[in-house]
């Protein structure tokens, strides 16, 4: 474990050094991430899990930190994305006159990374909750980077309320659970699992609420798009790629400690997965703000991960170890993949925002020529998130699809889980539509505004992490057997079965998907090369065909609103969009059905009630004494009435 602590120390040192020099921060934090992830690699390669007991005589039992396969997997995600993001952050915030503020943000980022690393390695409830709370607070301070803007302050407040609600749920969870256990270490909690009443129904419900709030499961997602849009782009990348995954980690850890869950919980998670997936991508489609759009896609991908967890849980409940392994392996692999391609997309979006000064998709266009490297990286991220070969998103969706489809080959209630495949297919097709919209409107065609005309390629310090993340996506897509094998090992740990229960052909099949993808890339390259050699002789270039008219303006191009319009019309009741249509313009304004339709009205209702109650509180002693007397008389009357009866 000592490399882990050295790594944490380096990350903290880098954060402190950021106020002196950005270069030191850029050097220390990524190297800390590399050193810190060494024990995780060792555990994943089959080494024995390690534990460190920090202190023996405190309330709640010993504070234990440990790295098992599950922790190691999430640790790799934290350190992998964290390292890439810190490389990016220095260049992203580096310019301008806010250097003190940037240094503060760097320090907070390194603190955030350390606390997330502690969340996923804590092996007792007390350090887990402490790290969890610290993570929440650093997150809040990071969102408030541009705190002079009212919408940033509002997003921060919403985040703070939601994250504390989540923490409260987790306090309740561990208090309930701990009542049956010797102390609050995870081993003691695991031993107490069978003693919980109703198969742990209360614990599982609280876990779903508390961790679901952090993960952004619909309908608990409403804080997420606000927070992701308000934070600086590289911080959004950490939020979306890493921080919300702690919710997934929590769910998996609770499942591991309980050793399974009743069927109703599995079906609930599976249904929430379908709902989050479909609504998340549909609401993403209606967005015109690049970062909010990506944030809604995180909700969608959490839905896909939940489909895997749901299938895995059902596989455990109904005793089909192969389904359980496939489900959890799909969830684990998609968690890693989403961390990679979503942070890639957020960093790419950050490069666009930095170059043009706007997040509004409708004001962009034609950036592919102006920012070729950013475009290539963003395209890799897009193909990956849509789940297409030859990239990593395809591999994890392939595993998840198989987990769900495997249900159809079995008998008993588990066969119904195959119906979720249709939901996953809808999600995939809508994600394709959404990323066609983003790539097409932002990067292709002609620039729609002067800002987009004058955009320039991002600085080298920002491009390097983009390229690294894109290469990681391609590597898992082309050589998936290592990643699939590791995720199966994690699934075996969560499901509590030997990895031998896995159908042996899965790894071989994964290799074949890799070969298919490699064949695809090779053929594409060969044919494209052949075409370009042939083309060398003569290549006239003409303006795009405009049906015989010779004029044409960039503003006449199709817009993001109009691109999404037919889909939104088809899904109108649940699409959550207000359409403004007149003779001159067509605009669609996205609204969040949960936040604007549920949470805000509820909040306003509470406030309204509170204001109606205000006249009671006058602040005069005589009045309060009167209340006391009135209450006493009322109670006396009540007791008399009770005694008489």
């Amino acid at each position: 474990m000592s490399p882990f602590f050295i790594g944490l120390g380096l990350i903290l040192a880098g954060g402190v050094a950021a106020s002196r020099s950005g270069a030191l921060f850029r050097l220390l934090v990524p190297s800390g991430c590399i050193i810190g992830s060494l024990p995780a690699f060792r555990v994943l390669a089959g080494g024995t899990p390690r534990e460190v007991i920090v202190s023996g005589h405190v309330p709640g039992g010993p504070w234990v930190l440990g790295i098992d396969a599950l922790s190691a997997w999430f640790l790799l995600i934290v350190f992998g994305v964290g390292g890439a993001v810190t490389l990016y952050g220095v260049s992203y915030l580096g310019h301008g006159h806010h250097s003190a503020r940037a240094a503060r943000s760097h320090l907070l980022l390194s603190l955030l990374l350390v606390s997330i690393a502690l969340v996923v390695t804590a092996a007792a409830a007390v350090p887990f909750l402490m790290a969890w709370e610290l993570m929440a607070i650093w997150g809040y301070l990071l969102i408030m980077y541009e705190s002079e803007q009212p919408d940033v302050r509002q997003a921060g407040l919403l985040y703070l309320i939601v994250t504390h609600t989540a923490t409260l749920m987790l306090f309740a969870l561990f208090a309930l659970w701990g009542a049956y256990a010797r102390d609050l270490s995870f081993t003691a909690l695991a031993a107490a699992g069978p003693k919980l009443p109703a198969e742990g129904a209360a614990v599982l419900t609280l876990a779903l609420l508390g961790f679901g709030l952090k993960a952004g499961i619909i309908p608990l997602h409403f804080w997420l798009p606000e927070a992701h849009a308000a934070a600086p782009s590289h911080v959004s990348a950490v939020f979306s790629g890493v921080m919300i995954k702690t919710g997934i980690y929590g769910l998996l850890r609770v499942l591991l400690l309980l050793g399974g869950a009743p069927a109703w919980w599995g079906w609930t998670v599976l249904s929430l997965g379908v709902v989050s997936g479909v609504l998340g991508v549909l609401w993403a489609l209606t967005q015109h703000d690049l970062k909010r759009l990506l944030a809604y896609h995180s909700v969608e991908n959490i839905g896909i991960i939940l489909l895997g967890i749901g299938a895995g849980t059902l596989g455990m409940t109904y005793r089909y170890p192969a389904v359980a392994l496939l489900g959890f392996a799909g969830a684990a692999l998609h968690t890693l993949n989403h961390a990679l391609f979503k942070s890639l997309l957020f960093l790419g979006a950050g490069a666009v925002v930095d170059a043009t000064g706007t997040r509004d998709i409708e004001r962009l266009g034609g950036l592919a020529r102006r920012m070729p490297v950013t475009w290539a990286a963003f395209l890799v991220g897009s193909v990956a998130i849509v789940g297409l070969p030859p990239l990593n998103g395809f591999v994890s969706e392939w595993v998840t699809y198989q987990a769900l489809l495997a249900g159809a080959t079995l008998d008993g209630p588990i066969r119904l889980q195959a119906l979720a495949v249709a939901g996953l297919a809808v999600v995939g097709a809508l994600a394709l539509a959404c990323f066609a919209k983003v790539c097409g409107i932002v990067f292709l065609g002609q620039p729609r505004t002067p800002e987009a005309w004058s955009a320039e390629e991002a600085k080298r310090g920002m491009l390097l992490p983009l390229v690294l993340l894109a290469l990681a996506c391609a590597f898992i897509g082309l050589a998936p057997s290592a990643a699939v094998g590791a995720s199966v090992a994690i699934a075996a740990r969560v499901a509590g079965v030997g990895a031998g229960a896995m159908p042996r052909h899965l790894i071989a099949a994964a290799q074949l998907t890799g070969w298919t993808s490699a064949g695809l890339v090779l053929l594409l390259a060969l044919v494209a090369l052949g075409r370009s050699r042939r083309r060398a002789r003569r290549q006239p270039r003409q303006p795009t065909w405009r049906c015989g008219y010779t004029y044409g303006e960039p503003r006449m191009q199709y817009t993001a609103s109009s691109f999404a319009a037919p889909l939104i019309a088809a899904y109108q009741p649940i699409a959550g969009v207000r359409v403004e249509r007149n003779a001159l313009a067509f605009r669609s304004h996205p609204i969040d059905l949960v936040l604007d339709g549920g949470v805000r009205p509820l909040w306003h209702g509470l406030r309204w009630t509170a204001e109606r109650l205000r006249p009671i509180q006058q602040g005069r002693l005589a009045l309060y004494l009167l209340y006391v007397v009135a209450t006493v008389i009322l109670l006396l009357l009540l007791s008399c009435a009770g005694g008489a009866g």
Partner: protein, 303 residues
């Protein structure tokens, strides 16, 4: 080494450009015209291959990649289908997902190529294409669920190879519904009436045709060939469900496949001549109906 998968793959790749010709010819004959010869697409491809290319000043490399991707993904997807009725060139657990994803990749690049031109027409076509696809995809996957349930296998070879003929006696109604739903998906995915009309001449009413409006020469030839192969693939799926051929001798199996593909193409022509195109906002309803059909097939099999 069993050469049959490769031989049947070659046969399908050679035969594919015939299918749109058969469909068009059937339509022409049924509507009282003579129509173009069935081998028209071969001549078109040969002509386009010899021609030069004009690129729009707005376009980038993605515009040139899309035609290549259209053909390459279609051929790779063909490798995953058991075309000889027994086994595919490449087969692994879950290859049906790879099959659907490869076709989706072709759609993604073509749509991006359309948006790359900056033309409103092509943006419009791109938008419609992804809309219709989002309704066709669940229908396709529901068909796959039904086939997985009927055969207990997660690969296309396992599904359409041997076990399907054993499943027919017990699951005939479901499999018929699956075939019908697959045919509806075929019409949508290949831009045929009632979803799209390949013969339309007005850009405003086009869907698939308008996305490739700016492609020319060999690029256009690659796109046309890719679409022809795609039609053949969906045709082979329909034929594979309706006529499991694992018990036939190899040559007979290939003959059945060829005849089946021609019959499917002719059926497409019949549909085109007896049906009008649906209004754009009705197309999702058509595809939801196909999904519902497949859903009923799944429900029948699950109970």
């Amino acid at each position: 080494m069993n050469w049959m998968p490769l031989v049947s793959l070659a046969l399908v790749l050679l035969l594919a450009p015939l299918l749109p010709g058969v469909a068009t010819r059937t339509r022409a004959l049924l509507t009282g015209r003579r129509g173009a010869p069935v081998q028209q697409l071969y001549s078109d491809l040969a002509k386009l291959w010899r021609k030069g290319v004009v690129y729009s000043t707005t376009t980038t490399w993605i515009f040139r990649l899309a035609p290549v991707a259209a053909t390459v993904t279609a051929i790779l997807a063909a490798c995953l289908l058991p075309l000889d009725g027994r086994e595919a060139v490449v087969s692994f657990s879950g290859d049906l997902i790879a099959f659907a994803s490869l076709l989706a990749l072709a759609r993604f690049t073509l749509v991006l190529a359309g948006l790359d031109t900056g033309s409103s027409f092509e943006g419009m076509g791109a938008s419609r294409e992804v809309t219709f696809a989002s309704f066709a995809e669940p229908a396709l996957f529901l068909c796959f669920i039904a086939l997985v349930r009927a055969t207990g296998s997660l690969s296309l070879t396992g599904m359409l190879g041997g076990p399907l003929s054993d499943a027919w006696p017990a699951a005939a109604p479901s499999l018929l519904m699956v075939a019908a739903a697959l045919f509806a998906v075929l019409l949508a995915e290949n831009s045929r009436v009632p979803v799209d009309d390949p013969a339309t001449h007005l850009e405003l009413t086009m869907v698939h045709e308008v996305i490739v409006l700016d492609h020319s020469g060999p690029d256009l030839a690659l796109i046309l060939y890719g679409s022809a192969v795609k039609l053949a693939l969906f045709g082979a799926l329909v034929v594979g469900v309706l006529l499991p051929r694992a018990h036939l001798p190899a040559a007979a199996s290939l003959a059945v496949l060829a005849a089946g593909l021609l019959a499917v193409a002719a059926l497409v022509g019949v549909v085109e001549s007896v049906m009008a195109r649906l209004r754009l906002d009705r197309v999702p309803q058509f595809l939801v109906a196909a999904s519902a059909l497949a859903f009923f097939a799944v429900v029948l099999l699950l109970w």
